[in-house]
């Protein structure tokens, strides 16, 4: 069954000429023409015939499999003032994504086939790019009773998570891993031991000591990572760790993978670029959970992204209404947007300075996240559905509040000048963005 849903619309035919075609998963890196016939990649080569299609000049641009974001908050149902399926998927298209996975911590929580079914109907009516919906592990994500995972999986849940909250009870986590076998979907966890993170506003360290914030220590994350990996090993079931932020978590994942435990992890652009030093601004747009951590943590995340211990970039796109972020830092909700800036931010801060190779970044933004959830990865070869992004790595642009397609503008990059821009996104055979 298909786990991804988008609106049904006419597919496009086009030829992209002279771009550097980069498909890291297939080892392709060459200047080529690509022809798409009614949404399907038809031909790859030099001097491909246009066949009357629209011709796009790709000279100087990079053409690569479109991105997949495994961690998005679409705020629907419940907070459509912050994001809708339409606005969130338009934002995704602008960021070069052909598919996204939406988290179930909405109002109501996606914990029944009825809520899930309504979301899938909505996506089929208005989603610009494909959306998959994760369902909750526990009813109301309250950490008590398991959801009807079998029925939810049959109704199209792409995975299970209580994201936004940790699975506090080890016994429930164990049952979720056991019962998850029935559903045949990935179990994803937000790792936070609440008795250690309590009231924590930012990473515990020298900066929190100076600013006077209650610290949210890295060990509050890593003890849960270690617990969940131990449970996954015991139950011989895979586990996916959402938005890891701490060096100790990375080390635990690396050990688990070396021991043969099916453990995967994702990391956000903001954790790869910023440290807790950014909190000195007291700008509510650098307040997130898990919090920005130390330089050593950031280095460990970058290293893990490079060597594949962390196999996916996840934006954790978390729109918030302007009035909810325009409050004293301590009162502000956690979370920042990220769909429209992810590639540019990472290109600017990791690829251009030579910290992470471009091919590695592209792999972790596309094929990497697909492997975690068992989705078919976008690929550039004849016969494949066209899921493409055309990138201009020479362009510079400024992030401004009025430049977003998202309904919210709580970006940590406001006012910053970034390198690299998405010029075109093709998702499920349709041109969904041109910029």
């Amino acid at each position: 069954m298909t786990l991804l849903h988008a609106k049904d619309a006419a597919r496009d035919s086009l030829v992209i000429r002279g771009a550097r075609v980069l498909d890291p998963a297939r080892g392709v890196d060459a200047l080529l023409d690509v022809r798409v016939d009614e949404g399907v990649i038809a031909q790859l080569g030099a001097d491909v015939q246009a066949n009357g299609h629209r011709v796009v000049d790709g000279t100087g641009l990079v053409l690569t499999p479109a991105f997949v974001d495994p961690h998005v908050h679409l705020r629907t149902p419940g907070r459509e003032d912050e994001e809708t399926i339409a606005s969130g998927t338009q934002a995704a298209a602008a960021g070069g994504f052909c598919a996204i996975l939406a988290m179930p911590n909405t109002e109501p929580v996606v914990d029944s086939a009825a809520v899930l079914g309504a979301l899938i109907d909505r996506a089929q009516a208005e989603a610009e790019v494909s959306v998959g919906f994760l369902a909750a592990i526990s009813k109301g994500s309250e950490g008590g009773e398991l959801t009807e995972m079998g029925e939810l999986a049959a109704a199209g849940a792409a995975g299970f998570t209580d994201d936004g909250r940790p699975v506090v009870a080890a016994s429930l986590m164990r049952r979720a891993l056991q019962y998850g076998a029935v559903a045949g979907r990935t179990i994803a966890v937000h790792c936070e031991e609440p008795s250690l993170s309590r009231s924590g506003q930012m990473h515990e360290g020298a900066v929190s000591a100076e600013l006077g914030f209650a610290g949210y220590p890295s060990v509050a994350e890593s003890v849960m990572v270690i617990r969940d990996v131990a449970l996954a090993a015991y139950e011989e079931r895979p586990v996916h760790l959402l938005h890891v932020s701490a060096r100790e978590s990375v080390e635990a994942v690396r050990r688990a993978q070396a021991d043969g435990v099916a453990t995967t992890a994702e990391v956000t652009p903001h954790h790869l670029v910023l440290t807790d030093d950014a909190l000195r601004s007291l700008d509510p747009n650098v307040k997130m959970n898990p919090p920005l951590r130390s330089t050593a943590d950031r280095q460990a995340l970058i290293e893990a992204l490079r060597d594949g211990t962390i196999s996916a970039i996840a934006t954790d796109h978390a729109p918030h209404a302007r009035h909810e972020k325009e409050v004293p830092f301590e009162e502000a909700p956690f979370g920042v947007t990220g769909l429209e800036t992810a590639f540019s931010a990472l290109y600017t801060h990791l690829v251009e300075p030579g910290i992470v190779p471009l091919a590695t970044l592209l792999e972790r933004m596309s094929a990497g996240p697909c492997r975690i959830y068992g989705l078919e990865a976008p690929r550039i070869e004849p016969g494949a559905e066209a899921n493409l992004v055309l990138l201009d790595t020479e362009a510079t642009w400024r992030v401004t509040e009025d430049g977003f397609r998202s309904r919210s503008a709580n970006s940590w990059l406001l006012g910053q000048e970034l390198r690299a821009k998405v010029r075109m996104t093709v998702a499920a055979g349709r041109i969904v963005y041109e910029g």
Binding site: R198, A206, E210, F213, V327
Partner: protein, 331 residues
């Protein structure tokens, strides 16, 4: 009492872009010394029979207090009045805040009156920054959560300088609940900035991890206060203690191990406390009432220091009170 002296005669004027006093971290040592010198000059004025200076006539100062306060709010109000400013003081209770108005909207409402200075105390870190972002006023932080209380640190420096003649090279021990104390954070920064050495003493559970990075040393042994020139006792912030957080097993045990008692201090050591005190908890009444205690001096210093802060934010003028100003007062 040794005469306070301006360390340098050529203190530069305030930089035009510094519009607010939100954190000691935003100040240079020159800024601090200029403020202390200005406060010293105001000291002469407040001892006069006619205590009012015309300096800020026609200016408006708004005090907004979202937390209870006796010392700070009365001190700011009086400081503004002594400088002839118009003063409006608001408390969160009985205002639109009770009706759920956001801080931003309250700030915009106040800003419509065109105040020159907004003095704000708020239980949450970041509130003064928000007010500074959305209004055109100079913002003075009168305490934001556990973050900063910069005028407290300035008045403490003023008190120390007045009593001991200097700050550079002094050893100050800060004792108690550092974790929950904005006073501690502001004072560490201000003291280190002015060349004092700072030792923090208290239970390990009330010591923020990583605080050494601010340039101080940390001890859990109360004997570490013995070598200090100044013992600065922090209030046990009982109201900030989360239920069941287990920071200390009991106040009784805290007092037994870290209470500042006559046996633990030596003659000549100056004792300070930001108030309000919990007598018999963090400080023994005999210490609080001894002649080496500067606690009332601190309150008096609060007035002239806050006058200096208001003056400094609203004038680009010379480092100290100009001579003609004093003449004007005399006439």
């Amino acid at each position: 009492m040794p005469e306070i002296s301006v360390v340098r005669d050529d203190l530069p004027p305030r930089q035009a872009e510094r519009r607010h006093l939100i954190s000691i971290a935003d100040l240079t040592r020159d800024d601090v010394e200029r403020l202390l010198a200005t406060a010293r000059n105001f000291e002469n004025a407040v001892d006069r029979e006619v205590k009012k200076l015309p300096t800020l006539r026609g200016r408006t100062v708004v005090n907004v207090f979202y937390e209870s306060s006796t010392r700070t709010s009365s001190s700011f109000e009086l400081a503004a009045k002594r400088l002839s400013a118009d003063v409006m003081s608001l408390k969160a209770t009985g205002s639109a805040v009770d009706k759920g108005e956001s801080l931003k909207d309250t700030a915009l409402t106040l800003d419509a009156y065109g105040p020159d200075v907004i003095v704000i105390r708020h239980p949450h870190i970041g509130a003064p920054q928000l007010v500074a972002r959305v209004t055109g006023a100079h913002v003075v932080n009168a305490g934001d959560g556990k973050h900063q209380h910069p005028t407290q640190a300035l008045l403490d420096l003023y008190t120390i300088k007045q009593e001991l003649g200097r700050i550079e090279g002094l050893h100050v021990a800060i004792v108690g609940d550092v974790l929950h104390s904005r006073v501690a954070r502001s004072n560490i920064q201000a003291l280190v900035l002015c060349g004092a050495s700072v030792t923090l003493v208290g239970p390990p559970t009330l010591m923020p991890r990583g605080i050494e990075a601010m340039g101080c040393t940390v001890s859990t042994d109360i004997d570490a206060i013995r070598e200090a020139d100044v013992v600065y006792v922090l209030r046990m912030q009982r109201e900030r203690m989360l239920e069941g957080a287990n920071y200390v097993p009991s106040l009784r045990e805290y007092t037994a191990r870290w209470g500042v008692t006559p046996e633990r201090v030596r003659p000549g050591q100056k004792i300070m406390h930001p108030g309000p005190m919990n007598r018999g908890v963090e400080i023994d009444p005999r210490v609080a009432d001894a002649s080496d205690a500067l606690i009332e001096t601190q309150v008096r210093a609060g007035l002239v220091t806050r006058m200096a802060v208001l003056y400094d934010l609203l004038t680009h003028g010379p480092a100290a009170v100009p001579a003609e100003l004093e003449l004007e007062v005399a006439s």
